[in-house]
Symmetry: C2
Subunit: 230 residues, 2 copies
């Protein structure tokens, strides 16, 4: 049975942008599972599947509902063990958690602030009001102020990716010779940046950009089907 | 046959301090292998095993010589597959590389500078001359100047450990329920700090300090046999 993936969109439902939803989509594609995406807007989340979740992604697999991208990856690994592995063992599972923590604190912090107005501008009217209110409460500033220093902060952001950069001198993917869910975790963050913002987060000749291009090619170019923000 | 571990010491040969040598010692202990340590000073490295290596650790296992801590861990995993695993699968192996890159750029950079004079002061006369010359060439400054701003840089260092800190809310070790070589990689760096310097790199109530204390307890307290620098 086709799995449903509820994923976050803005005004244009053909442009899902949430990093966590991209992680789930990449995990499903990695497993070679048929899935259908259901576009959901911020202000619609509470209304899906009888209020099953406050956050996306959410998947429905038969009568099972699973939210949270990491939980989805674990579920898929356990439920479809004969399909390509997302973790390549217990060590890979434990350490993907570290990659998630690192990605969250390194990539998400900067991208979420640098692309904040770009994300706002993708949303429809009702979502814009929700987004402004919730994000201004989180940041304690007007939305417009948050990304104002993104150019100044860019060098430090690029520098913070050094562990990835030096890793890709040794192996083509975080998972080694082939991608694993750890790759999806970081690629999901960069796809979020790519879909929402025209800002150049990575220099074109950065080994991290070259690895991301390899990720965009995966699973018949799943991520490339959504053009980059212009 | 007992494995030999050549490890770096200063004037006091009972205080091995190199992070990479500690990683190798922890890996050997994790595998439950009998090993004997051979203390080596900086200026003695070129003379051991017919110039087999420019850097420590080096191990001799029968007629095999292996240098580089990661290569040693891979060798032990392959050669002693029936002993407790250091990687828990291919995913763990690939991602331990990421942990190594992260540790090198985050912990080693700061500890190596903050503890620089402390390390110098542990060495005997010949090693001090070598150390001063090589490190002053590397840093382009007098040795004494390098750690001068360590107090000012400490908050940023502690902040940079946030991925570990939030990970330990989810699991007791980087390897999950049990330690893997990824734990040894980071614990080796902190043991280097502990053995060389009285500087408080971690706050006592930091979850990273609590995890490090668990690492100090491993393998019958292998790391605790060397008292902390005072």
């Amino acid at each position: 049975m086709t799995i449903l993936l509820y994923e976050l969109v803005g005004a244009d439902e053909r442009r899902p942008f949430s990093p966590h939803c991209w992680k789930a989509a990449l995990a499903l594609a990695h497993k070679g599972l048929a899935f259908r995406t259901v576009p959901v807007r911020f202000t619609e989340i509470a209304g899906i599947e009888n209020g099953a979740t406050a956050k996306l992604p959410l998947i429905r697999d038969g009568d099972r509902l699973i939210s949270d991208s990491f939980a989805i990856a674990l579920y898929l690994e356990e439920t479809y063990p004969d399909r390509p592995t997302l973790f390549a063992g217990e060590g890979g599972k434990a350490m993907a958690r570290f990659v998630e923590r690192w990605s969250q604190l390194t990539l998400h912090t900067f991208i979420g602030e640098a692309a904040l107005m770009d994300i706002h501008d993708m949303l429809g009217p009702a979502d814009r009001a929700y987004f402004r209110e919730s994000r201004e409460a989180r940041f304690g500033r007007r939305l417009e102020e948050v990304p104002a220093d993104r150019e100044a902060r860019l060098p430090a952001f690029r520098e913070s990716l050094a562990p990835l950069r030096t890793l890709f001198r040794q192996q083509p993917f975080m998972g080694g010779e082939r991608p694993l869910f750890a790759d999806h975790i970081v690629a999901g963050a960069l796809q979020w940046a790519r879909v929402t913002s025209p800002f150049s987060f990575l220099a074109a000749d950065d080994p991290v950009a070259e690895w991301f291009a390899r990720c965009l090619d995966l699973y018949d170019g799943l991520c490339r089907r959504v053009p980059a923000a212009a």
